[in-house]
Structure formats: C-alpha cells, structure tokens
C-alpha cells in the first residue's frame, strides 16, 4: 500500500474498538484533535468499563459509547482490543470502513493476520498496523549502511530492550496468555523486531529462551537468537523486569554502531579514530522521543496524511512470524530472579 492510498477524511466518523489505556490515553486525544466535526464512536464490551466510560462522557455530545459495533460507515476504525479479538473486529468492519488501524501486534497467530488480509482482499479498505517506531529514520539509515558495506561487513547484531513494567493498564490483558498471546515478546517484541525488519530481509529463528515457568505463565524476559539474511547472528533480548540498555548494536568490521530503540541518532565507534554521532537530516532532537510525541508524529505523518507510508499487514506479519516461532520453540530460562 503506497502512502498516496492512505488518506483519511477527518469529516467522517472514527470508531475506536476497545477502550483500554492505549485507546483512551493515546489514540483518543489525537483523534479528538484531528476529527473535529463528526461523532467519535467507542466500543467497549466489558460491562463495568462500559458504565465507567458512559458516565465519564455523558455530557460530551461528540462521543458515543456502544456495547457492540454500531451501524454505519466510518472513515477510520481503530482496533485496540486485546490481540485475541483483532481478527474478529476487522472482519466485522472491513466492508464498512475506509481505513483500519490495528494496534500492534496485528494478531496472536500468523493465521489470524493472514485471514485479515484475505478478508480485505479486493475491497477498497486500507489496513495499517500501529508500528509507531517506523518514525525512526535511523533504522532505514542502518539498512543503507549495511547494504552498502559502509563500515565493512556486518558481523553480528545485539538488541536489548527492557524496563520495569509500568504501563497504566486497566485490565489484566497485559498478563493474560489467552488475551494477549504472551508476555514481553508479544508486548514490546513487535516494536523491537520491526526495527530489525527495516534492516534485514530475512530471519531464521535458531533458539529462544523465556522465563515463563508454567503452563499458563507469561514471560517477563525473552531471549531470541536469530540469523538474518545470509547468516548474520542477531540476538534479541527483551525484558519487563530488567533495565536493559534499550539499544541495538551493529558490529561491523570497521565500526560499532549503536542506535537507541526509541531514538534517532546513530552513535558510531570506529575501530580507528574518534567516536561520533550521525544524525538524520532536518530538525534534530537528540533527546529520546517520549511516547506521547511518538503518537503525535505518527498521527500527523501516518494516520491522517499517510505521508511516510503506513505499515501494511504483510509487513507486520514479518515480526509476528518470528514471535510465533519463538513461542513454539522456547526453552525455559533458569530461575535467577
């Protein structure tokens, strides 16, 4: 899907399906700003949550809360339910919406994601997945540096992303294997692996480890060992209870390049000479991009205008394949802490 095809009409009503923290705290404020005229519709199936929201917005005549998808057609549908339900809602709205934005991960299983693609085939609806870190141009730059062998051959890559979980979730979805499909790998994994998908064409999972120590347990840590393209070792280390470095290190013959997982500058340490930073062109902000700003820019560049090019389901499935394989093959980590 090209950027010219994704173009939302802010005069047509949006629908937000799923009223968890990400929909209310991040999507809704931006949708409110971008869609100034039409009614904004919400769908919330949890009874107590529905009552809470209905009361909260009782005096707001621009917002309507529904227990199921209302009649009508929509300019934009945001699907922000637990991933388990993404497919069902997409299939319900595929004939009634011009654009569908699905929160990551696109689905729990690759088969469900493929079913969504099939459901939309031949229809005019455009579907995108909310991989907001596509805003980071640094990984497209790393792709070019890798392909052109600017620093020589690439020997290995190490990604480490982790922080103590502090998401203001309103439900247990984040810790439900049934609703979410897993823990950290299904949570930040889609974001992190999608960064690597911008650099490499192909991945093969060699080994995976997780600290889920029970049948229904979900992992706080996941370590994946992959091979990218023609056998480049790639390690992905994700955590919800460790403060990891939140960076990707690319070890080339002639330099080590470090890129933060939520930031743009590339820190280069050549084997000879002084280290330096590379910045993308244009306005430079060396501070890490805070999550709210990510959403602002994502809406401006992707959701409303499609300037940069949205992330198609086919592209989003690339990271989901790795994640699905990891869950199937994972060995338990030792019980260190």
């Amino acid at each position: 899907m090209s950027s010219t095809e994704w173009s939302i009409d802010p005069a047509k009503s949006p629908l937000l399906v799923g009223c968890g923290a990400v929909a209310i705290d991040f999507h809704f404020p931006r949708i409110q700003r971008l869609f100034r005229e039409p009614t904004i519709h919400f769908v919330e199936v949890n009874p107590s949550r529905f009552e809470y929201l209905a009361n909260r917005w009782a005096s707001n005549d621009r917002v309507q809360v529904h227990r199921s998808i209302p009649d009508g057609e929509f300019g934009l549908v945001l699907v922000a339910t637990p991933p388990k339900f993404h497919r069902a809602y997409v299939e319900q709205v595929v004939d009634r919406s011009e654009h569908i934005l699905i929160e990551k991960p696109i689905a729990i299983r690759v088969a469900d994601a493929e079913a969504m693609i099939t459901a939309s085939a031949g229809k005019s609806v455009k579907i995108s997945v909310n991989h907001i870190r596509r805003l980071l141009v640094s990984y497209r730059i790393m792709h070019d540096l890798y392909r052109t062998r600017h620093f020589g051959g690439l020997q290995r890559v190490e990604l480490a992303e982790g922080g103590v979980f502090n998401w203001r979730a309103v439900s247990m979805g984040s810790f439900s294997k049934d609703l979410n499909g897993g823990g950290v790998l299904m949570d930040t994994g889609p974001h992190a692996i999608d960064l690597l998908c911008q650099v490499f064409d192909r991945f093969e999972l060699k080994e995976a480890f997780m600290d889920a120590w029970g049948q229904d347990a979900i992992e706080a840590n996941a370590l994946l060992k992959l091979e990218a393209d023609d056998g480049i070792p790639v390690t992905v280390n994700l955590s919800r209870n460790r403060n990891l470095s939140n960076a990707v290190k690319f070890y080339f013959d002639d330099a080590v390049c470090t890129v933060a997982v939520r930031d743009n500058p590339i820190f280069v340490e050549p084997t000879k000479g002084r280290p330096y930073q590379m910045y993308p062109p244009g306005k430079v902000d060396i501070a890490p991009i805070a999550y709210p700003e990510f959403f602002d820019r994502f809406y401006a560049e992707y959701v409303l205008s499609g300037t940069t090019g949205p992330v198609s389901p086919q592209e989003a499935i690339r990271s989901l394949r790795i994640i699905e394989a990891a869950y199937e093959q994972a060995k338990p980590m030792r019980k260190a802490f």
């Binding site: 247990m172 889920a212 460790r242 990891l244 820190f267 890490p288 802490f337």
Partner: protein, 371 residues
C-alpha cells in the same frame, strides 16, 4: 516482598497460594508462574468475598494513591472491612499484616523504639499515618489480638526492592551520588529473611506485634557503600554548601532580582515576536551581549560523544536522591521482644547478602543474558 515470599513457597507444595491484586502494574514477576491470580480492583473490594477455604492471609499491600475516586484512607478502610468480613465468614482465619517501622515517626537520635511506644506520626507524613491507620483499623476488629500478627520491618532491601536496592544501585550505575549527611543509623533487613519468617509463622502462627530488624546497626553511608562497591562505577560526591545569596534589600540583591525578572520577561513569546524585527536589524555584538547578560543563550547540547540511551557508561549522571535530612537521622527499633519470642531466628548481614546483590545488579541493570 510479596514476590520473594511467593518464590519461597514454591519449595513448599503443601502450601497453596492465592494472590489477590488490585492492578496489573506489579505482576511482571508473578505472572511468570502458574498461580491462582485474582484481579480485584479496589472499588470492587467491598463486594469481594474471600474463599472459605483460605486459612491465612498475608497482606503486603497498602494503597498509596487515589484509585477509582477512592482516597488512600478510604481504600484502607475498605481493606480492613474486607478482612473483618473474611474473619466472620471463616472463624479460623489468621492474618499476617506487613506494617512498617515508620509508624514510630518522628524518630530520635540514639533511641530504639519498642513495640509499645506511643504512636503519633506527623499529619504531613502520609505514608506513616496511612500505615498507622491500617494497623489501628485491623486491631479494632473483634478478637484481633488472637488472630493477627503485625510486623514492623525496618529498611527492607533485596531484589526488586525499589527504594533501598534498585534506587541506590541505579544511582551508582548512572553516575555519582551527591553526599551530604548520611550518618543516620538504620538496621537494614534482607527481604528473604522476612519471607523465611513469614513461612515459619505459616507453620507456627503467633499473634502479636513485632519489630523486624536486620542484625546490624549501620549508617546509611555504610549501607550505600555496599551498593557503590557492587556497581564499581559512580562515587560519592560531596555537595558544596549552598550559597545563601545576597542579603535582602542590598544593592546586589536588587541587581540579581532585576536580572532574574528581565530574564523571564525576555522569554515571553509575545515579546519575542514583537522584538523580532528589531533583533534582525541589531548587530551581533549587541545580541550576544544581551544573551550573556541575561543568560538566554541557546540551550546546551549534549557533547558529541554522549549518547541519549538508558545506560551511557561514558556519561555520569549525578543523583541528589539522598540529600534530605532524613538520612542524617537515626531510625532504630528495639528488637528485644522479637528475640525473646523467636530465639535463634537467623538474620542475614549486608555483607552476607553481597553475592546475591551483586548477581541481582547484573540481572537488573546490565544486558547480560541469564539463560
């Protein structure tokens, strides 16, 4: 503390834990296990009934913030009422409640507070007053002295302990720690010792209120030194005494305040737009002079070799987290009653905990794989 206790129970299959939680925020560790986990939002607690086959409740929780329009005090009252209903439903129920030594606030130098000390924490100390309220409400429940064990642990440290382990480890990991007066004394207690004690009480319940302190009296400085040595990166940096500034109503005082006032005026957005045409026509020396006088130059950028990532070992970030007078004051408890009732219970020294803390530092703050 709760998670550490849960891990200990894993080695005792005859004990079947059920975990009640009011929010998912602290579940990252627990969710790694198969556990009977019940999500009860705070505002639903008043409608919640404890399972009839629960023999004993260990309460680690305490509400610190407003939730669902309920103040912490209202939440504490709901909790206490919940335990009261549970006891009425299950007469054999027992409660182990984790309180805190903070109920003894304000402490005093060289004073060791015993369990029967009068309790009157200052109103502005929300933590201490909240904890005391919880204790009081629980004690007011019928027959409390027979079925409740209250513990007042001192400074708890260990894996996943935010204030007294993650805090100092993180501070030294990022850089230096500003040092004022860390001579206040404490009796830090290793979290796993609390877990072992609780496990013993599950087997052999004993009601009452007990201080629970570590085996050593040491200064905050000595305690934090242990973390500094583990991390081996940041250091203590003495803080220079603050310049009190010019005397009020003196000429320097007027000059300083006028400059500060004008600095704020110059930053005004509307004024900036108005003077923009004037600024464009002004010589560079004048613009620089104004900037220098009012210190309105371009914001400093990080040096080229620094990197805005979470673990920049090349960049040292200074922490002022331990400058409060709190750390100059003794916070000590009397352990006579505990030793009399639980003779021979072994407690871990800070030095004894060092190997585990060192491994924890690597786990929590480095990318080292732990497969």
């Amino acid at each position: 503390m709760g998670y550490d206790f849960f891990r200990l129970l894993e080695d005792h299959p005859d004990i079947e834990p059920i975990v009640y939680t009011s929010g998912p925020k602290s579940l990252s560790n627990l969710a790694r296990h198969d556990v009977d986990l019940r999500f009860v939002p705070t505002h639903e607690l008043k409608d919640t009934v404890l399972d009839k086959d629960v023999d004993l409740v260990v309460n680690f929780s305490h509400p610190f913030e407003k939730r669902h329009d309920l103040t912490p005090e209202e939440q504490v009252r709901q909790f206490a009422a919940f335990f009261g209903r549970a006891k009425t439903q299950t007469p054999s129920l027992r409660l182990l409640h984790i309180s805190t030594m903070s109920v003894y606030e304000p402490f005093g130098q060289d004073r060791f507070f015993a369990e029967d000390a009068p309790l009157a924490p200052p109103d502005k100390d929300a933590y201490a007053t909240g904890k005391l309220l919880f204790e009081s409400l629980l004690r007011d429940l019928p027959g409390a002295s027979e079925w409740q064990l209250m513990l007042r642990p001192t400074v708890v440290y260990g894996p996943f302990c935010r204030p007294w382990t993650d805090g100092p480890l993180g501070a030294f990991h990022k850089g230096d720690v500003e040092l004022a007066d860390l001579n206040g004394r404490i009796q830090p207690i290793w979290g796993t010792d609390i877990s072992r004690f609780l496990l013993d009480r599950l087997r052999s319940f004993q009601p009452g209120t007990f201080n629970l302190a570590g085996p050593e009296v040491m200064s905050w400085r000595t305690f934090f030194d242990a973390y500094r040595n583990i991390v081996n990166f940041g250091d203590f940096v003495p803080v220079a005494e603050e310049d009190p500034g010019p005397a009020p109503r003196s000429l320097p005082w007027y000059t300083t305040n006028t400059r500060s006032f004008l600095r704020d005026v110059i930053k005004n957005k509307t004024l900036k737009e108005m003077i923009h045409p004037v600024r464009e026509r002004s010589p560079t020396w004048l613009i620089k002079g104004v900037r220098k006088t009012f210190n309105t130059g371009e914001p400093k950028r990080a040096p080229a070799t620094s990197l805005a990532v979470d673990n920049p070992k090349e960049e040292r970030i200074r922490s002022g987290a331990y400058l409060r007078p709190f750390f100059a004051e003794d916070r000590l408890v009397d352990t006579t009653l505990f030793e009399k009732n639980f003779p021979g219970f072994e407690l871990t020294t800070v030095k004894g905990a060092q190997p585990k803390l060192t491994e924890y530092y690597r786990y929590r703050f480095t990318d080292e794989p732990f497969v």
